[in-house]
């Protein structure tokens, strides 16, 4: 019943899911950094940065991820010559997909963190300012540590959505789970079995993440 699985070795089933995991982890780290920077821009005292942050979030959020990912390949790589430091086409597609996922997901991370900043009581920031901390100190030492703890739940949702969104990388030929499923389901007779295998794979990836981060967010919640 599972014989057909051995016909696929580039990538294997596990190999394809490993690419999905790599895409998820790299994009998660990248979008957390870029999203935090965007959030800092959106609350900063410099009007130009505020404007940029707002414009970025509102534009990127409203463009389909598929458009962004396809653009990284057809536009960024083919026209703008962004090769991501590699001549290997497979590696390039992978890195471009990470770039697209980071650009898109960061907009949602930014909004999550900004809503977290808004949950920190006004008194915290006022007290920090009263003892003479600068804007970056207020943000780094007082507000963001509390904001992060309160947004673990929303960030976990973004991470899970990101895990599912990595399948969009299939549109530019990254050999991850969805592309392998497309290949298998078109060539093999066991449609239902293949669908079930890949569905199960994603449930296995997202379920523990959701449970663990749900537990963590309750544990680390700032008690007020």
């Amino acid at each position: 019943m599972f014989d057909f699985l051995s016909d696929y070795d580039d990538p294997t089933l596990l190999g394809a899911f490993w690419v999905t995991v790599q895409l998820t982890v790299l994009s998660a780290v990248g979008s957390l950094i870029w999203g935090t920077l965007l959030a800092a821009m959106r609350v900063s005292p410099v009007p130009l940065m505020r404007g940029f942050g707002t414009a970025y979030v509102n534009v990127v959020r409203n463009i389909p991820l598929t458009v962004i990912i396809v653009f990284t390949s057809l536009g960024l790589a083919n026209i703008f010559g962004v090769t991501m430091g590699t001549e290997d086409l497979k590696d390039r597609a992978f890195r471009l997909a990470v770039l697209g996922l980071v650009a898109y997901t960061a907009a949602f991370v930014c909004e999550a963190i900004r809503s977290g900043i808004n949950t920190v009581p006004v008194g915290q920031a006022e007290a920090a300012r009263a003892i003479g901390l600068s804007f970056s100190q207020v943000l780094r030492l007082v507000v963001l540590p509390q904001a992060f703890r309160s947004v673990i739940g929303p960030l976990a949702n973004v991470l899970i959505a990101l895990t599912k969104n990595t399948t969009v990388a299939a549109t530019i030929g990254v050999a991850e789970a969805a592309l392998l499923m497309k290949e298998m389901i078109e060539n093999e007779a066991q449609t239902l079995l293949i669908g079930a295998i890949f569905a199960l794979g994603f449930v296995v990836l997202t379920l523990p993440t959701g449970l663990f981060l749900g537990w963590l967010s309750k544990r680390l919640a700032v008690k007020r």
């Binding site: 536009g75 010559g81 959701g210 749900g214």
Partner: protein
Amino acid sequence: MTSVLYDAPGPRAKRRNVLFSVVFFVLVALLLWWVWQTMDEKGQLEWALWKPFTTSEAWTTYLLPGLADTLKAAALSMVIALPLGAILGIARMSDHRWVRIPAGAVVEFFRAIPVLLLMLFANEFYVRSTGIPSDERPLYAVVTGLVLYNASVLAEVVRAGILSLPKGQSEAAMAIGLRKSQTMSGILLPQAVTAMLPAIVSQLVVIVKDTALGGVMIGFTELLNTRSTLAANYANVIPSFIVVAVIFVVLNFILTSFASWLERRLRRSKRSTGAVLGAEKVDDLNAAEVGGTYGTGAGGSI
């Protein structure tokens, strides 16, 4: 809110802010200059590539039919997913365990799976098991995938909407002797639907964005798909991407603005119970928040 984070700038802070502004402006300007320069080098700025968008032909042959398909798939998905989601959501709150648990399993299962997988599976299923003609099949597959996913997302929205109503509503209904089904259909659901409207409209944004997946992966002739035909015809890759992105941004911006206008209006309205499920709510819908227990947390439909 932001002003809480910093004092009104004094002379030094003002100078520093100006410095930051200048540095940031130079960085952004450099990036834009590089983009402009490369586009110029590759001939993407030539008028011949942009001119098609000023003629009616590019619009009536490619962009408008594509946009129409995008909207058709999104509208069909929403219309089918909404009642399905309502049934699933209400079933999940049933007093009978044999109804509650299967409904919960279905909702959590379909929320945990990428829409693309559902579309691919639906497409292949229709190829093998039904006689749907091949030119209509992509639409069926896209709508099926979107319905399965969004029905389970909307089920959670419905559940959150009903739970957001004051407890007195169902207590009062019980006190005047209504049955459970009467309480649900006559008292809770009508109020919950009003409360959910903003959340439903913003879910429409997610659906519109997800239709683009079908365009690349299963050949559904929506906007992104017709863009590639157009670009093949006029060799205007970058201009066509920019135009399509602008169309999506404008369309989704209208939907988002409509959702927040609805939300504001409903919050103001005197007739409601004051329970409104905000437009942003869908993003962080999580079983943990709705049900009080740890869910799978498969939410976050971004």
